[in-house]
């Protein structure tokens, strides 16, 4: 057993941490939020060119740095720490993860474009009726000649307003809740028949409702085998869950540290509020939540690709979701009124922590999934 990072991993993490600390301060981030774009193309370009980090979890054969899940974990924790808006999760973790899972010519073509910063992928999987169930799909792709015709409505597709590609789940067979009959497509975001309604999200990002109306897809847009994509989608979602948990760890570490600093400095009744035992215990409870979140995230990350991947991912998301709520709410509570002000960063970390709770499945969803996987339906 060895929990140590390699030298390359340490350098990667430190490089990104330093870069973000130097260039991605709160005011800079809020400029991207207030611009309405919900990201900064210049930052993404810097990730690709100046830092060269977009290849971290990809093989050297694809032009990457040869890493994998650990690299994604390290990067996502730093993204969380700096509250980064840019689309590491949908593009590198999810889009890249799906391409790695199916391999072949499309992976050879698109992964280098991700690494170069040219391809931005958004994951169009959720539907208005589907909640967190990856198989609950009414979007259809019907065979048409050698290709497909896509129809449907995808909900809250993060990063879609600026994506170059959409990774779309659709039914090529079966009915709404079936596990079979689901296919995965990677398509250019500007195909005829795709319309979007773009909006900002409460955590400062951008997303869209995406509508497909008789969108003609070529045979080469299909990833993997038709009708058999659910295992790939679940695999990618587990990788996404582990990555979001890592992001949460970064967010929660900052929330805890900011709150601890505040409790040391804020005086009421003639002394720092951190000297009141009720707040000391609260800060200790927050600390324990953060440490356990970090631990279970590491567990879920290390078990990706193994037989316990699904149970571990759900355990982690449930535990981290609870931690996100507890730490977020108490960070605001201990800050008092200024915790609710939009002018301080603490409130923005709280907003992100809140959305992380439900992203790729709520605590309830993942507890239920864990129970079913472990104890049977």
């Amino acid at each position: 057993m060895d929990f140590n990072l390699t030298e390359e991993q340490t350098i990667l993490r430190d490089t990104v941490q330093r870069y973000l600390a130097d260039t991605y301060d709160f005011e800079t981030r809020m400029k991207s939020v207030h611009s309405g774009a919900g990201w900064s193309p210049a930052v993404w370009k810097a990730f690709a060119e100046e830092l060269g980090i977009l290849g971290a979890p990809f093989s050297e054969a694809h032009g990457g740095l040869g890493g994998g899940a650990i690299e994604n974990m390290l990067m996502m924790e730093e993204m969380g720490r700096a509250l980064v808006l840019e689309p590491w999760l949908p593009t590198v973790v999810i889009g890249g993860g799906a391409l790695k899972a199916v391999g072949g010519a499309v992976a050879d073509a698109v992964i280098p474009e991700i690494i170069a910063g040219n391809a931005i992928i958004a994951f169009a999987y959720a539907e208005p009726q589907g909640r967190y169930h990856l198989n609950d799909l009414v979007t259809t792709a019907k065979p048409d000649g050698s290709g497909w015709v896509l129809n449907g409505h995808k909900a809250v597709v993060k990063s879609a307003p600026y994506a170059t590609h959409l990774l779309v789940t659709a039914r090529t067979g079966g009915s709404q809740h079936d596990s079979g009959g689901i296919s995965l497509f990677l398509i250019p975001a500007d195909l005829a028949g795709i319309t979007r309604r773009d909006y900002a999200t409460v955590d400062g990002g951008a997303a869209s409702e995406v509508y497909f109306e008789n969108v003609a897809l070529g045979a080469d847009h299909l990833l993997g085998a038709a009708g058999e994509a659910l295992p790939v989608i679940e695999h990618v979602a587990d990788e996404a869950v582990a990555a979001i948990c890592a992001e949460a760890c970064g967010v929660l570490r900052v929330l805890h540290k900011t709150t601890l600093d505040y409790a040391r400095q804020r005086k009421q009744f003639g002394k720092p509020i951190g000297e009141f035992q009720v707040l000391q215990h609260r800060l200790v409870d927050m600390f324990m939540e953060v440490e356990q979140a970090v631990s279970i995230t590491l567990m879920a990350t290390l078990k990706l690709g193994g037989p316990e991947q699904a149970t571990s991912a759900s355990m982690a998301k449930a535990k981290v979701g609870r931690a996100a709520r507890f730490v977020g709410q108490n960070a605001v509570q201990i800050h008092g009124g200024i915790g609710i002000s939009n002018e301080l960063s603490v409130g923005h970390y709280f907003k992100r922590a809140t959305l992380i709770e439900n992203q790729f499945g709520s605590v309830d969803h993942h507890m239920a999934r864990f129970e079913t996987l472990s104890y049977g339906a």
């Binding site: 208005p128 609950d136 909006y199 009421q268 009124g337 609710i340 939009n342 709280f350 809140t354």
Partner: protein, 402 residues
């Protein structure tokens, strides 16, 4: 003891229900269900209807313009108002400074201010918290120096800064806690002043909160001149008024009737929203959490009824009101958590506003539009009115004698 309403109470309930149905301004319909931000005009429309009916101040003594309702009738009124999704009026005039003025004020102050609170002519705000005085309110430093002007009359010159002042941007008047003696124990050097918000030297600056709302403000006071006859009660005895007012604030803060309506609303939403092809209400986890809120709310409701019964028997609201504040706000916050969970993915889209002039159709189900901003906003409830930590200190000290 008897839980049943008397025939008179039932007749009263029917009157109230019909009145709200017929008189509640139609243009306000839907604003509470959807958690919309309310404008000054929204509040005043309903205020004026109630004022002309004589129902604006159920808690006030009849001689000052109250309704003379029994505790049961007041309970019925709040239940019916919440059930009909009627706006809850802001407490600053009606529930805070009004009772302070009729309890501690001079006959002149009562005649000058109370009718204008009842009519809605004056909008009041509360100048309590300061950047350095939150939980430790008594450490406030806004200073009022007394002097005699050239006209031979006495005035205070007020300097300092207040913060978290709710809807001060609308206010005509504010009630302020100020320091009139710095050489004594903090609580013994505070006075309670009524200040015209149009006075020279007052600056109101917005603080934007997490949901994007402009609800609270900083209020700066720079050489603001206040006639001495706008001080309520004795000089340096303002803390007595402050404590009286905070105890009043805490009971209203429980929001039992509104939370009961909130439970119904979430139940309705969870019947419609889907989870794995079933209504969300069939999800055992969601269902249990909602049921737990209902159970806790029933216990809170009957705790409040016991407190009200004590009040009718002549006991003022005491430190027990801290219990109502803690449990009431916890329930309000849990309801916002459930609403956000029910919204699922549709908790993420951000809407700054969707009032008049915004005819964009909803993204996701209607209720989800304000789920996240309301969740963020309601974190304030365990902080304001004396944080829930402070309320526990009050119970420990005043009730348990620790």
């Amino acid at each position: 003891m008897d839980l049943a309403f008397s025939p008179e109470d039932i007749a009263f309930r029917d009157d109230v229900r019909a009145f709200i149905r017929d008189q509640y301004p139609t243009e306000l319909h839907g604003k509470i269900e959807e958690g919309e931000e309310l404008s000054k005009e929204d509040f005043l429309k309903w205020h004026k209807v109630l004022a002309s009916q004589g129902w604006i101040a159920p808690a006030w003594p009849k001689e000052y313009g109250g309704t003379g309702w029994t505790a049961t009738q007041r309970y019925i009124w709040s239940e019916e108002s919440a059930a009909a999704d009627a706006i809850r009026l802001m407490p600053f005039g009606l529930s805070m400074v009004g009772p302070v003025i009729y309890t501690f004020g001079t006959p002149e102050q009562k005649a000058r201010f109370l009718p204008r609170i009842l009519s809605g002519e004056d909008w009041w705000c509360q100048g309590y918290s300061e950047p350095g005085a939150g939980s430790d309110l008594a450490s406030l430093r806004t200073k009022a120096e007394r002097f005699t002007a050239e006209d031979g009359k006495e005035y205070y010159r007020v300097n300092g800064q207040k913060t978290w002042t709710t809807l001060a941007q609308y206010a005509d008047w504010g009630f302020f806690l100020v320091r009139t003696n710095a050489d004594v124990k903090p609580q013994e050097g505070i006075s309670f002043l009524l200040i015209d918000m149009k006075s020279p030297g007052i600056t109101v600056r917005p603080i934007i909160t997490l949901g994007g709302e402009h609800e609270v403000n900083e209020v700066w006071l720079e050489d603001v001149i206040v006639p001495v006859d706008q001080r309520v009660f004795e000089e340096n005895k303002g803390w007595t008024c402050a404590k009286f007012l905070l105890a009043h604030e805490r009971t209203g803060i429980a929001g039992v009737a509104a939370s009961k309506r909130g439970v119904e609303r979430i139940r309705d939403v969870a019947r419609t929203e889907q989870d794995a092809g079933q209504p969300l209400l069939a999800n055992p986890f969601f269902r249990r959490k909602l049921a737990e809120v209902e159970v806790d709310l029933a216990a809170l409701e009957f705790t409040e009824l016991r407190t009200l019964a004590g009040e009718s028997a002549g006991k003022g609201p005491g430190p027990e009101s801290s219990l109502l504040k803690i449990k009431g706000t916890e329930i309000q916050q849990r309801l916002t958590e459930l609403a956000l969970e029910a919204a699922g993915h549709y908790g993420a889209p951000y809407f700054r506003s969707f009032g008049e002039g915004d005819n964009e159709s909803a993204i996701g189900p209607e209720f989800s539009r304000r789920a996240a901003p309301v969740y963020f906003n309601m974190r304030k409830t365990s902080i304001y009115g004396g944080s829930n930590e402070i309320q526990r200190n009050i119970i420990a000290k005043m009730v348990l004698g620790l």
